[in-house]
């Protein structure tokens, strides 16, 4: 066991999987040089230029070439440098990778992992801050993971690489170096599609993922200390397929659901979570299913004061907890 930050955990997962399975390769922009976040640091030296491959600056080709290679015995991890830059590859992800198995009636599969740092909070402006999970979480045939802790990142990335279907693996970049937490040195996996209760509580359920997990945990500590409200915090970890069971079990216990996400309020993934709770846990609810999210402006403006104004934070979440708890 060693203390690692999340970007080191991501790197370890790739290195260990490349060691375990010679079919695994990494490709993307600047990956041979370690990547802009250093997530592929050292992979070139460890595995050579045939397995850690700098691509031209062409996102559609990064994903499209990965798709083709995956049909021919290679297991690619394609890195999109920032989730904001994934849109040129959207057609390859949505129309090709995600539909290939279905449209061929199970004839072809597409075992690729697409890694992308996402999310705001680093003064990244409108093109280094986007949350793209709702766009892709909408697409059948694609699994979407959103990680925010070192332990989860390593275990889930290994599962993604071993998965027979395409996985979009979103790493919240604000969480890359936020903590140094214990991560086992040995091999372990976390199943895709399982949420985790990160904090037990009885009065209210906070359902969240990504960087908002850390803000929600902080807010839960605050309302416990200041108001005596016991908040349960669920980290979805995977948004597609979604672990409805863990969400509903918690809401059935607390009777109150606060869905917290960083993306824009309208049509964000939390809207789906809210709809599921409203439809399937209605009899247990003791207050309106409530959302805390960013307003509907492009996420996120560059200036610190603007960014802070827009993004949810522990204080905003604590305030929403208090309102809902008092309902």
């Amino acid at each position: 066991m060693a203390e690692k930050n999340m970007v080191e955990a991501v790197r370890d997962a790739m290195s260990e999987e490349m060691e375990r399975d010679p079919r695994v390769i990494v490709l993307g922009e600047d990956v041979a040089n370690g990547g802009v976040f250093r997530a592929t640091q050292g992979l070139l030296d460890e595995f050579g230029p045939d397995r850690c491959i700098d691509t031209p600056l062409a996102e559609s080709a990064i994903v499209g070439v990965a798709i083709g290679a995956s049909l021919n015995g290679v297991i690619p991890i394609a890195e999109i440098q920032f989730a904001d830059f994934i849109h040129p590859a959207m057609d390859q992800i949505v129309s090709e990778a995600a539909r290939l198995r279905y449209r061929s009636n199970g004839g072809w599969g597409c075992p690729i992992t697409i890694r992308a740092p996402y999310g705001a909070g680093i003064h990244g402006g409108p093109y280094h801050s986007q949350s793209v999970e709702a766009i892709y979480g909408h697409v059948p045939g694609l699994k979407v993971v959103c990680v925010a802790t070192p332990y989860d990142a390593k275990g889930l990335l290994k599962s993604a690489i071993r998965d027979p279907d395409p996985v979009l693996f979103l790493e919240h970049k604000r969480a890359y170096r936020l903590h140094r937490w214990d991560v086992p040195d040995e091999d372990y996996t976390i199943p895709i599609g399982e949420a985790e209760v990160k904090r037990d509580g009885k009065d209210i359920s906070l359902i969240t993922y990504g960087m908002m997990l850390h803000h929600a945990l902080k807010a839960a500590e605050t309302v416990e200390a200041e108001d005596g409200i016991s908040a349960e915090v669920i980290d979805l970890r995977t948004i597609s397929p979604l672990d409805k069971e863990t969400i509903l079990k918690s809401v059935e216990k607390t009777g109150k659901a606060l869905v917290v996400y960083e993306d824009n309020l309208t049509g964000g993934f939390g809207a789906e979570v809210a709809a599921i709770i409203a439809q399937e846990a209605f009899d247990f609810l003791d207050g309106p299913v409530t959302r805390v999210a960013s307003p509907d402006v492009p996420i996120a403006p560059y200036a610190g004061v603007l960014e802070e104004y827009v993004l949810p934070n522990p204080a905003k979440i604590a305030s929403a907890i208090r309102d809902l708890a008092a309902y």
């Binding site: 390769i25 045939d50 397995r51 691509t55 031209p56 062409a58 559609s60 080709a61 499209g64 070439v65 990965a66 798709i67 083709g68 290679a69 995956s70 049909l71 021919n72 015995g73 290679v74 040129p88 057609d91 390859q92 129309s95 090709e96 539909r99 290939l100 198995r101 279905y102 449209r103 061929s104 009636n105 199970g106 004839g107 072809w108 599969g109 075992p111 059948p140 045939g141 699994k143 071993r162 027979p164 279907d165």
Partner: protein, 338 residues
């Protein structure tokens, strides 16, 4: 048009008489299947038809240079001739057109002519133009990384050359010197848009130079010229010398799809002019000139083709429709691991 001629003699390309006859048979079969699918559409039995009558030489001539089952085949939605050469049967194609459950291509999920056959390494295609070009670069990239002497071949129309994916694919292939052959079936139109609104060059093959590999323009209605260029390209790729771009200039003799009326955008005189260059009639005449085919053999072959297409149609029409609940299957792998 610059024309590469490789037809000094029927044996000049190393093809046997049987192979030449087989090429003709595949071209005629492709034509007959296309016509049958369109007819079934007019009869209300097939909701949509997209076929490639007129492009058989470009299809059969290129695919004939591959090793079926070993090389990677990434066709587009007109390539009935390609998949027949690689090993799909009239039955496969009629089952697909009639959206029957046992269709190997998609079990009734994809529109007709979106060919797929994992055993034959025919990669399933989408309808978004040019996305498949990148996939062929991916299969070729894997062949190179794994040290396998496989070649990938990908087909697309002239319209596809305008797409960003075409550029991204060819650039990637050039950088890595991949064993891939790009085949542009330049049929003059992207639905109604003529090629002159698609590109500002006479021969789009010149673009290959910009990616660092050879490009060649051939008479796409001359099956042997097409085959000669494809043979050379496949041999180059197999020797590890990288990609080739083949522009086969041809003509779509039929509307874009069963939902298109091509009278709106091209004259009947133009279509008639190209019908005179029909690649099947030309190849038959060539074989007759060289004493390899007589009128009776030609008619016998036409009869054989018609019988096969009839039999395939009958089989497919009687095959069961997909189980409606199968619509929920195969979104993800149904077994863990791989």
């Amino acid at each position: 048009m610059e024309v590469v001629s490789v037809r000094e003699s029927p044996g000049g390309l190393g093809l046997t008489g049987d192979q030449l006859m087989d090429m003709l048979y595949k071209m005629m079969l492709a034509r007959a299947i296309g016509q049958r699918v369109r007819m079934l559409n007019r009869m209300g039995k097939v909701p949509f038809a997209v076929t490639g009558e007129g492009q058989e030489a470009a299809q059969v001539g290129t695919a004939y240079a591959l090793a079926p089952g070993k090389d990677w085949v990434v066709p587009y939605y007109r390539d009935i001739g390609v998949v027949l050469v690689i090993g799909q049967t009239p039955r496969d194609l009629l089952l697909e057109a009639l959206a029957r459950g046992e269709s190997v291509s998609s079990g009734g999920r994809n529109m007709p002519s979106h060919f797929s056959d994992p055993k034959l390494r025919i990669v399933s295609g989408a309808a978004v133009v040019a996305t498949q070009i990148v996939h062929a670069v991916g299969t070729a990239f894997a062949s190179k990384l794994r040290g396998l002497d496989e070649v990938s071949m990908v087909w697309f129309g002239d319209g596809a050359t305008s797409e960003g994916d075409c550029h991204e694919a060819m650039n990637f292939a050039g950088i890595h010197g991949l064993p891939v052959v790009f085949v542009c079936e330049h049929n003059q139109y992207a639905i109604s848009v003529p090629w002159t609104k698609q590109m500002a060059v006479e021969n789009v093959s010149v673009r290959a130079q910009g990616y660092g590999f050879p490009g060649v323009t051939v008479d796409g209605n001359d099956v042997l010229a097409v085959y000669g260029s494809a043979r050379e390209a496949v041999d180059r790729a197999r020797r590890g010398e990288g990609p080739t771009f083949i522009e086969a200039k041809t003509y779509r003799l039929v509307p874009h799809t069963s939902d298109d009326d091509d009278r709106r955008y091209r004259s009947r005189e133009e279509v008639e002019k190209w019908a005179k260059k029909d690649p099947i009639i030309r190849f038959q005449a060539y074989l007759q000139e060289h004493g390899l085919l007589d009128a009776k053999e030609r008619d016998d072959l036409a009869m054989k083709v018609a019988e096969e297409v009839d039999a395939a149609t009958e089989y497919a029409e009687n095959a069961p429709l997909p189980d409606p609940e199968s619509a929920l299957k195969h979104v993800f792998a149904e077994e863990k691991g791989r």
